[in-house]
Symmetry: C2
Subunit: 329 residues, 2 copies
């Protein structure tokens, strides 16, 4: 393994944006320098609040992320501004290059601010790899001292659920009038929602959407959960909030509920549980990569090709192929 360059580590910890941008690319491409720096930075992680933001196309979730970032930089009187990183995993997100039209806060208000860093991800990674590389990017931001990390995903499909599962707090965005199809897709992701938002709440149908969400919540949630010492504590009931993100309406309340959720997690020990679960998942995935790499290095290519040929000709089954490939290790 390449050992971490002390200069890179200190640049990141000092908040140098150019070094940060370079490292993010190395980490996203899973280069040896990136992995080494990630390893060296790991001791400085664990301070940021990871917030997943998910919702179908058309719900306006990019506008909401935009406004929320702006709010954290310019909060209500008496609150301290926080530094914000945005990781856009959604290929349709304007953070990947498009413009947010009609937003009260424009992209340039964020991009000119040294307390904000926006990063979009390539979403064409290998099977299951997306959640892993998102987690790595977030760790870099965490080590670099960003206090709030917003992770925007499209919110459909297993890969997105896996990404959102990494977050401390998950916002699920709905909007009136998107049709029943989309509601049905959401059923899976609703279970991991901590705050539900009906955006575009100035549109007709907002009451119906709100009611549908409240009904689904009643079905899905137990009233109490066990904390890590085994006591029964009240479970978190996800609030259902209305926003009009493009106008900045309701954003302060979203931020307040995120803070309240953070306090709930810390008070119940759930914060540490989620942390442990995340590190466990990451470790399993790294162990798997290492095992597969070691196996690949140990098997001659001609042998592998011979087994594949037998498989294609239906002379052996996949299970028998595995027996041939692993037995003599």
């Amino acid at each position: 393994m390449v050992s971490a360059d002390a200069k890179i580590i200190s640049s990141i910890l000092a908040g140098e944006r150019l070094a940060l941008a370079r490292l993010l690319t190395q980490v996203e491409n899973d280069l040896p320098e990136g992995r080494a720096a990630l390893s060296g930075l790991f001791a400085y992680t664990g301070r940021a609040h990871w917030i997943g933001v998910t919702g179908a196309p058309g719900t306006g979730k990019s506008s909401l992320v935009n406004q929320l970032a702006h709010y954290y930089r310019h909060p209500s009187a008496g609150e301290t501004p926080r530094t914000v990183a945005i990781v856009a995993v959604d290929p349709s997100s304007p953070f990947t290059g498009g413009a947010i039209l009609g937003d009260r806060v424009r992209m340039r208000d964020l991009t000119g601010d040294p307390g904000v860093f926006i990063r979009s991800m390539a979403t064409r990674g290998s099977l299951g790899g997306l959640a892993h590389s998102t987690a790595s990017l977030v760790q870099v931001f965490d080590a670099a001292g960003y206090e709030i990390i917003l992770i925007e995903t499209v919110g459909a499909g297993q890969a997105e659920v896996d990404i959102v599962r990494l977050a401390h707090t998950t916002l699920v965005i709905e909007a009136p009038g998107l049709g029943d199809d989309i509601q049905a897709i959401k059923a899976g992701i609703l279970e991991i929602a901590d705050v539900l938002i009906v955006n575009k709440a100035d549109r007709p149908g907002v009451e119906n959407t709100e009611r549908a969400l409240l009904n689904m919540l009643q079905l899905a949630r137990p009233a109490q959960v066990h904390n890590k010492t085994g006591s029964l504590i009240p479970s978190w009931t996800p609030p259902v909030l209305r926003t009009v993100a493009t106008e900045g309406i309701g954003i302060g309340q979203v931020a307040a509920e995120i803070t309240r959720h953070r306090e709930y997690l810390l008070n119940t020990g759930n914060w540490e549980d989620r942390e442990r679960l995340r590190l466990d998942t990451e470790l399993e995935s790294l162990v798997q990569d290492r095992l597969v790499a070691r196996w690949h290095a140990g098997i001659p290519d001609f042998k592998y090709q011979d087994v594949i040929n037998q498989l294609v000709e239906r002379r052996i089954s996949p299970q028998q192929a595995v027996d041939l490939l692993i037995v003599d290790e």
Copy 2:
């Protein structure tokens, strides 16, 4: 490993629906009996045409799958009817329980037909597991003699792309007026489209959608590709077709293009290449499972927990944790 029950194998090969339904459940839940039967049935696979059908919610892809299945059972004069299996991976699909309203062909026309088998998948599997279990279900249908296997997915997210990659032929469904967001999501999946369909073609905006697809196709496709013997052959140009699935309009032409694509694959050697790629992917995934299972069995739980504790306390990095867990194997 449990060895395959000869009675189950012969029931499946004889086309017994009850045995088939039972086996599909065992395979989907990855039970030992299911794995054993899958292994025993493998020699009988490789005959079906796997067709992936993908599109965002609201494009009407379930209606299209429905009509296509009906068409294969009742084709134009002079064509032979084919048996059809439908695997619905899309959680919003009516095949998972809802009704298709307004369709000329109703679900009951399919469900009463012994030449049709419809199966919906639970979509809440583990990370990356969905494509794997879909492939297993399709293999069972293939061995059971179903000639056409339609795999319906929602078409957003990496998991869906991975599923569709398994198919010989992939249909991508669009509809007019779904907005730019959805177009953007499709950009990734367009690259694996073999037939593009603008459904709901009686709605306004059909020309715009068609033009957008044709433009994207021009950007994405080379004119020639190398076949497996290294010669340059004309690449397949995905046709863009109009349908009104609920009325059964344009379905025959879709079926004709699917047949033409099959012939293209067979003539160019691409059919066999896709088959080899799929078996290769499946084998890698089985090898990985076996390696991880063997590693898990070999590591004492107290040691794993100790490493996780050190990780949570930031005393070691994830890479160092892997070194501790794999070094002494």
